[in-house]
């Protein structure tokens, strides 16, 4: 078990499910081959409804999203976040969010 001394950050990106392939390609071209992907359900401030859309009986409508968890050294975070944001940006609501969290310790098993 080797503890890494470099500061590591975890980037959690929750994006539209159609962007899976694009982000995967981006990460591999960036030289990041280690990441986790999960299919999740979620919604943002619009509660899962498009603007002007008719609301149904359910008030919070969960939509299908893809969650990426990418662990990178702290100096790579800024560049990678910018690239993911440019790739996933559309003029419509529901593009997603990116969270950056600190990883105090990281072990290679």
């Amino acid at each position: 078990m080797i503890a890494h001394k470099i500061a590591m950050k975890m980037i959690t990106a929750i994006v539209r499910s159609q962007k899976l392939q694009d982000i995967q390609t981006l990460l591999v071209t960036e030289g990041i081959e280690r990441f986790t992907v999960a299919t999740v359900m979620g919604c943002g401030s619009q509660c899962g409804y498009s603007e002007g859309g008719k609301k149904s009986a359910i008030e919070v409508n969960l939509l299908k999203k893809i969650k990426f968890e990418i662990e990178v050294p702290a100096d790579k975070v800024g560049g990678l976040v910018d690239k993911i944001m440019t790739l996933c940006r559309t003029p419509r609501f529901g593009d997603g969010k990116i969270f950056v969290m600190n990883i105090p310790e990281c072990f290679g098993m």
């Binding site: 999740v40 979620g42 943002g44």
Partner: protein, 112 residues
């Protein structure tokens, strides 16, 4: 900015969702997970003489909020997810260093 992870029972998802909506919070990420806790099986599932810690289906909810909302959200979830038996779930709170809204590129607390 904090990230709240709540692991709750699948049957309580709609209650928690509704309670959060009533409290003015409609943003969340939800996915199903498996986990074990004090409760080894749901009471309606009959398992005679079997007390091995087995994995039961749970729902994990992730909600990013600003610091002043943390207490309110935790209280709302805890109240709505409560059940009569054990295994109601857990709530964890983590720090978020930075948050980005992809559509506008906003950063920080206003992007949540």
């Amino acid at each position: 900015m904090k990230m709240i992870h709540a692991i709750i029972q699948p049957s309580k998802l709609s209650d928690v969702k509704q309670a959060l909506f009533d409290a003015g919070l409609g943003k969340m990420t939800v996915y199903s997970v498996n986990g074990s806790s004090q409760l080894t099986h749901y009471p309606d599932v009959h398992r005679a003489n079997d007390y091995e810690p087995n994995l039961m289906s749970k729902v994990k909810m992730e909600i990013a909020v600003n610091d002043k909302q943390v207490k309110k959200v935790v209280e709302v979830i805890a109240k709505a997810a409560k059940n009569v038996f054990n295994g109601n779930g857990k709530i964890f709170v983590y720090d978020i260093e930075q948050c980005y809204r992809i559509r506008t590129g906003e950063q920080g607390p206003q992007a949540i």
